[in-house]
Amino acid sequence: MSSIKIELRQEDVDKIKDICASFNNEPQELINVLHKCQEHFGYLPAEIQEVVSQELSIPVAKIYGVITFYSFFTMTPKGKHPISICMGTACYVRGAEKVLDEFKKELGLEVGQTSKDGKFSLSSLRCVGACGLAPVVMIGDKTYGRVAPDDVKDILREYE
């Protein structure tokens, strides 16, 4: 379990309740609610899940099950510059794993982790729909195509 124990502020609780209410507190809207919550808070710690559980009347165990099933959802806060390496088939066969290894080495992070200073977080995802540019790396909204392991240092330098 990788959750960080936080307490919510009243305005955070109200925000989560607003999000749930915007989907009429319907249990089947769970994934949409989680998307909105992650969009707003950046991640989905236990406390947020508890509030969603109460609002949508879904056991918190089920919500945790959904969050741990879909790799898009995270319980750890993303870094200021979230790095995603595409591991889809096209990127993979064109050497995405070596690129990922290079990022791991340079940052000293494993997939799913965030650097201590909160600057970078590392994740892998499946296909961003830019297979022609494989292997693809995304940092925030910026896309890097045809990335080679040797490019990694230069890319990271842009964010110093």
């Binding site: 919510l8 502020r9 236990a46 406390e47 918190v60 165990a61 089920k62 945790y64 741990t68």
Partner: protein
């Protein structure tokens, strides 16, 4: 009703539309092996994830094998259940499951009663290819007061998840993570103890492997029996006698009361008493409380809370403390029979035989796993000495008897000791759904009306429907009674109470489907609800055979009040036999 004709293994069968291949095959005596699928037919409980693929069959004209548990019959279908292709597929599936399963059957608590083991034997698996190089998923063991989770043995059939969520609506368990990391776990993978688990034990009751088992307290019992300074007293719950015979090869529904008593005596218990006695005592306290609230209500007292809810079932108590803490003044304050027994044994009876409560060990034999937790609750002890020291399940007692090489089947019938072993038919029926309220009605009617009941059998309160209701004529006053078994059914009635819609004066709740006879500590039913029905019939048979069938006529109960307690709901009775409930709902913490 529209029917469908199809051929299974060259035999023709006609079944109602919507029937699955598996059930159609059963109609003509073909038993297709299943693993994740499970059903309790009479209780409308079914687990059908179609995930394990053990039950695959070949259907003419279809390219792929089909899971028979989830594939519906179609007109003219030709099904084959044991072709080479089918047998090879089943074997491969089984080999995959076993490649990620520990091979410690010799010491596994489920050995001999494990559906996975039985199936591996049936399919003739003799080796597991690739075993040397295959990785095994591992997970920490989680021990709670009642239940042990050993996820290394989990095959992800998700029966426990179905029970916990759909039937019980407790929602403590869910499948989490994916791939090799997938497990069934509480939220945030906390230990069960820190989840919303009620310890009802229904997950244990349906687990096909050793992944979910009870905490075994027989070593503590053995230690107490071996200690010459301790007087060891045992109490046996009503549902135990109606089920334990199954573990000694007897037909479901065989009553083994007398043999059980003899076996307990042979094991060395100093006094063999009966929880049924305490059940009679519960009726005196709970029945009096019901009448008191009812009379106040009829006199227009707005503070009288109705309906009164029964409080014998510890899984149920855990459930409303977690989900309905706002209603915690609605249930009866009467302790459960197990705890009433402990409180009386360690006061009244200890005084009688001239020993201190510290030198007495009270053991309970229960069909239940929540009882293990209940007897550990702080409010049920005095200066750190619990009223009930240890609770063991029907399964644990049977294993203990076998361990002590007692020839159970050939034992002579024994009788319970006096005074805490005497009970009425009303005490016995506590073991099945509807029984507690029927016992309460037998006593409350006579006290309220001052008339003698002509007929003590209230068949309108019996049955297996999940939610039942009946109106009993209390000499002109219609007493509305609700009954729920299974926590999901209880939730429905509780929601009505919360919103003020409930028209009931009294509601009985038992956490387990079928009541205690279907408890988490009972012999495993392996999805055969006929077994539960047979146990219920046995309970009513024991009731019929009792010379006294109303709690307030139990001479030892009358004597207990005369000598010790005074009147029902007296101050002394309140101190010893009543309890309070707590708000255990998780709170959202807001940062100031």
């Amino acid at each position: 009703m529209e029917t469908i004709r199809l051929t299974i293994d060259n035999k023709t069968v006609e079944v109602p539309k919507g029937t699955t291949i598996n059930k159609a095959a059963k109609e003509i005596g073909i038993d297709i092996p299943v693993l994740c699928w499970m059903e309790l037919h009479d209780l409308n409980i079914e687990n059908r994830p179609a995930g394990c693929r053990i039950c695959v069959v070949e259907i003419d004209g279809r390219r792929n094998l089909a899971p028979s548990c989830a594939t519906k019959c179609e007109e003219g279908m030709v099904v084959r259940t044991h072709t080479t292709r089918v047998l090879n597929a089943r074997r491969t599936v089984m080999e995959f499951i076993l490649s990620d399963h520990p091979k410690d059957c010799l010491t596994c608590p489920k050995s001999g009663n494990c559906e996975l083991q039985t199936l591996a034997h049936q399919l003739g698996i003799r080796e597991i290819p690739g075993q040397e190089i295959a990785a095994m998923s591992t997970y920490r063991k989680d021990t709670s007061p009642s239940i042990i989770r050993d996820l290394d043995k989990c095959i992800l059939c998700r029966r426990c998840e179905m029970m916990c969520n759909e039937v019980q609506t407790v929602g403590a368990l869910s499948a989490v993570n994916r791939g090799f990391m997938a497990v069934v776990a509480p939220a945030f993978e906390q230990n069960l103890e820190h989840s919303t688990c009620t310890y009802c034990g229904q997950c244990v009751a349906v687990c096909p492997t050793g992944a979910l088992t009870e905490v075994d307290h027989t070593p503590e019992v053995l230690r107490a029996l071996a200690d010459p300074t301790k007087t060891v007293v045992v109490q046996t719950a009503p549902a135990v006698r109606a089920a334990m015979g199954e573990l000694f090869g007897m037909k479901p529904g065989t009553l083994v009361t007398g043999k059980m008593v003899s076996a307990l005596r042979a094991l060395g218990f100093d006094y063999v008493f009966d929880t049924d006695f305490a059940a009679d005592l519960t009726i005196m306290e709970e029945g009096t409380e019901l009448l008191d609230r009812l009379n106040r209500f009829l006199q227009g007292d707005k503070t009288a809370r109705l309906p009164i809810l029964t409080s014998c079932c510890p899984g149920w108590v855990n459930f409303f403390e977690e989900y309905f803490p706002d209603l915690k003044d609605v249930p009866s304050t009467a302790k459960s029979p197990q705890q009433m027994f402990g409180a009386i044994a360690k006061s009244y009876f200890a005084d009688k035989i001239g020993i201190s409560r510290k030198d007495m060990v009270v053991i309970s034999i229960m069909p239940c796993l929540a009882k293990k937790y209940e007897c550990q609750r702080d409010e049920f002890s005095e200066d750190g000495n619990p009223d009930v020291d240890f609770s063991i399940s029907t399964r644990e007692l049977a294993a203990f008897i076998k361990q002590a090489n007692i020839d159970f089947n050939n034992l002579e019938d024994g009788d319970f000791d006096a005074p805490l072993g005497e009970s009425t038919g009303a005490g016995v029926i506590f073991g099945t759904t509807g029984g507690v309220i029927e016992a309460a009605v037998r006593t409350a009617y006579e006290i309220h009306t001052g008339k003698k009941l002509e007929k003590v059998d209230f068949t309108e309160l019996r049955g297996f429907e999940g939610v039942r209701s009946a109106t009993i004529d209390f000499d002109g006053f219609p007493l509305n009674i609700g009954i729920a078994h299974g926590l999901g059914n209880a939730r429905k009635l509780l929601n009505d109470v919360r919103s003020g819609k409930s028209l009931f004066h009294a509601i009985e709740v038992m956490a387990c489907p079928g009541g205690c006879i279907g408890g988490g500590g009972q012999p495993l039913h392996h999805g055969n609800s006929e077994i539960l029905k047979a146990r219920a019939a046995a309970i009513y048979e024991e009731d019929r055979n009792k010379p006294i069938r109303k709690s307030h006529e139990n001479p030892f109960i009358i004597k207990l009040y005369e000598e010790f307690l005074g009147k029902p709901n007296s101050e002394k009775a309140h101190h010893l036999l009543h309890t309070q409930y707590f708000d255990k709902k998780k709170k959202i913490v807001v940062k100031q």
